[in-house]
């Protein structure tokens, strides 16, 4: 029954920007049409998203992308047919949040003193990708139809769901530069803000608070 998880402080992470990553579909209708086309061609869509948890002053926060000052989403994407969930999720996290290789310079806002100071210890300041550690599944959501709503179970009599989305806990590296596409923000949302706030964050994100409650957090 060991459910202990260590959380890094938010201050260990540095935020930079990278090229915009526009939404694939210009409208909800277009998104559902793509889902329909993909289902006909490749079967049920499998989506994976990462739950990046840090702490600020001893309270857990989840890192979320905000698009157009409006809706919130977790980093992640749907997988290619046959693609491994864990590897596919790591690759999508790199695409969305890791600095591009050709941008491998100091990000704006990171000073030389910040990189060499005693507070950083002896570890290298990681600018690259590939160091996400995928942990437990925190929840699974099913889309029974070509509609916007999803459920945390397969509804009775639904035999061919159109999408299955899994949310995975990500164990953060000790330090990292997180490069955020210019058309998004990356926000650290405290659990007390997210709890019981389906109106603002939707049921999938709000439910993360109770899903995380099983863990004993250690605040590094």
């Amino acid at each position: 029954m060991s459910n202990t998880i260590s959380l890094q402080p938010l201050s260990n992470f540095t935020f930079s920007t990278k090229e915009s990553q526009p939404e694939e579909d210009p409208s909800v209708a277009a998104r559902l049409q793509r889902l329909t086309n993909d289902y006909d061609a490749k079967g049920m869509r499998r989506t994976v998203e990462g739950v990046l948890v840090v702490h600020d002053h001893g309270h857990p926060h989840i890192l979320m992308l905000q698009i157009a000052n409006a809706f919130f989403k977790l980093p992640g994407h749907y997988l290619s047919p046959g693609e491994d969930e864990s590897l596919g999720l790591k690759r999508r996290l790199d695409i969305q949040l890791t600095m591009d290789v050709n941008e491998n310079t100091l990000p704006p806002g990171v000073s030389a003193s910040g990189l060499s100071g005693a507070s950083l210890g002896t570890d290298s300041f990681d600018l690259g990708g590939g160091d996400w550690e995928v942990g437990d599944c925190l929840g699974t959501w099913w889309r029974p139809n070509y509609e916007t709503y999803m459920y945390p179970y397969t509804p009775p009599h639904v035999t061919k769901p159109k999408e299955c989305k899994k949310l995975y806990l990500i164990h953060m590296p000790e330090r990292k530069v997180l490069a955020v596409p210019k058309n998004m923000k990356l926000l650290a949302i405290p659990l007390f803000e997210l709890y019981d706030n389906t109106a603002r964050y939707g049921p999938q994100l709000a439910a993360l608070v109770t899903a995380l409650s099983k863990y004993d957090f250690v605040y590094l």
Copy 2:
């Protein structure tokens, strides 16, 4: 990432009745007063509850106690100081749901043919206790004050919560007679009824749907 859980069919369980187990406290005020007294004498209250999951026609159901045709609760209770969580939970499940030793006869409604029929296989029909298997913690709730509300996290600046409640998944035995105190009902609530239904079941029970969504269920 193995999250597979086998669920027994609801029809494998037989329901009997046993002596009433009245609520300890006659009112909410009395309950909070007892919490206050206990905290002063013994420190933070530790409560454990069991989430008994079965399936009916391939959809998961949670077994819940209903009291006075009104509110729903999971079987469980608070522990004695120093008492082991898992052992204490098993003991409370026996007290609430297992037939008393001196009632060790066929329960009303269980026919002799039902006990010896081919549908029961060769296993013994378990009338006794002690065969609960405590699984994963599904959630933790904290009571910051001597008040009725609880949160699935410790709110910032709360250093001395008054109660910590943990909800544990119970792996059900293949068959069992469940003896329900006369002043209660035991109901199997389907996940689709519980989901997004905080109004009827409260936040702790409604949140179990998303907490359970991480599992792949096998319907036996």
